[in-house]
């Protein structure tokens, strides 16, 4: 059943995302604006920017992810299609996994692709670029999966968006720490495989556990 149902769902969600593409570009514009504010705030000195580059880029990525999360289940919840899926007997966990995957494809992957530009803006030392892209590629899917739990918990609330950031940011702390330390190690020409390995382990754990939590949260929200 899985492939026959999940692939059309994936295609449908991606098509829906494509039709609402201006709406989807907003988090990316938000990301660019947030990063561009830092040089204005702390001054354009290349040394200062280089020191804070990783942190700024990663925090902007967290913010952009949370901004885009609020709408993850909202329209499906409001038009009743989420309920249809829930009563259809398909595994809600797999549906949740597809939803998180779509979210990563439309909100996480663009951040990974944009990161070289951000690295240039923030004057990230050149040795760190590979680590930055790798850490974002491994970290943003985990952000989508963990964030989807929060989005599923708040989907039935009218003003869930403000609450969502409070629920999700504490869970993002380990990813932020690991990712930024990987990039700092890379700029200091130290090995950073360990941090990337832990990020990958986090991704695998989130891939196995988060869909169940998302499904349980969706069931609660649909009650």
């Amino acid at each position: 059943m899985s492939g026959r149902v999940l692939l059309p769902l994936l295609r449908r969600d991606l098509l829906l995302a494509y039709r609402r593409r201006t709406e989807l570009l907003l988090p990316l514009v938000f990301l660019l604006v947030v990063v561009s504010l830092f040089p204005l705030g702390v001054g354009p000195g290349p040394q200062v920017l280089a020191r804070i580059a990783v942190g700024v880029i990663w925090i902007a990525a967290l913010l952009a992810t949370v901004v885009s999360l609020d709408g993850l289940f909202r329209s499906d919840f409001e038009d009743g299609s989420l309920e249809q899926v829930a009563v259809s007997g398909h595994s809600l966990a797999r549906v949740a996994l597809v939803k998180a995957l779509v979210h990563w494809l439309v909100a996480g992957l663009p951040i990974v692709l944009l990161s070289p530009l951000l690295a240039i803006w923030m004057n990230l030392p050149e040795g760190g670029l590979g680590a930055l892209v790798a850490s974002l590629a491994l970290g943003t899917p985990t952000l989508s999966l963990l964030g989807a739990i929060g989005a599923a918990l708040t989907v039935s609330l009218n003003r869930g968006g403000q609450l969502l950031s409070l629920l999700v940011f504490p869970l993002y702390v380990p990813i932020l720490i690991l990712a930024t330390s990987a990039v700092s190690s890379a700029t200091d020409s130290l090995p950073y495989n360990g941090q990337l390995g832990l990020l990958a382990a986090g991704l695998v754990a989130a891939l196995t556990l988060a869909p169940m939590a998302i499904a349980a949260a969706l069931k609660l929200s649909l009650e």
């Binding site: 918990l153 609330l157 409070l166 869970l171 330390s181 949260a217």
Partner: protein, 249 residues
Amino acid sequence: MSRAKRIFHQFGSPPWLFRFAGWLIPWLWLVCIALGAWGLWWGLLIAPPDYLQGESVRIMYLHVPSAWMSYSIYLLMAIFGFCALVWHVRAAEIMAMASAPIGAAFTLVTLVTGSLWGRPTWGTYWVWDARLTSELVLLFLYLGVMGLHSAFDEPRKGARAAALLSLVGLVNIPIIHYSVVWWNTLHQPGSVGVDGSSIHPSMLWPLLIVALAAKFYYGANLLSRTRVRLLEENRHRRWARAWVTGGID
């Protein structure tokens, strides 16, 4: 087995729990105050000042038990939440949500006392020390659970959503804690820990007594919060009416 099961069901019965909690709370307060007074008297007046930290070590008799409680209450809240989600035990749902503000209070006290201890010891109120930082994240987790609970119009739905969030948080707490400890060693090699690696026995005893008092405080506070929720939810039941109008415990 059947007896254990009966006790379990009895515990989930609102009127029984309401009455039992009403009977137990004064005793818990009595023990809490007695132990707290004994432990603090010992810690503040009898125990010697630390030869490194001086008199400021006396803040530890409040700080350390609060820190222990902040984590163990989160664990208990998640266990109650698990019972609420899996077995639909109403009492567990109420107790999980009643635990959150108490845990948040302990976390807040841990943070405030930690920074007041830090001023004379480190020379600054706030250091991004591993323990303080993970306590801060813990406070955010508590605030998230409380915020999610109160955001729902239906309290029961809110309680179940918040219970699920507390379970997600429980899985993450060790990861957060170890990542913060590791982050701290990266950025501040050789930072001073909040409590020394070895505690002198003269300090340990009052510390343990205050910690025990804190557990009784949690029990009494938890049960009195639970009683309020039980009465609110069962206002249309006959036993609630009898208790309010008759004033019989």
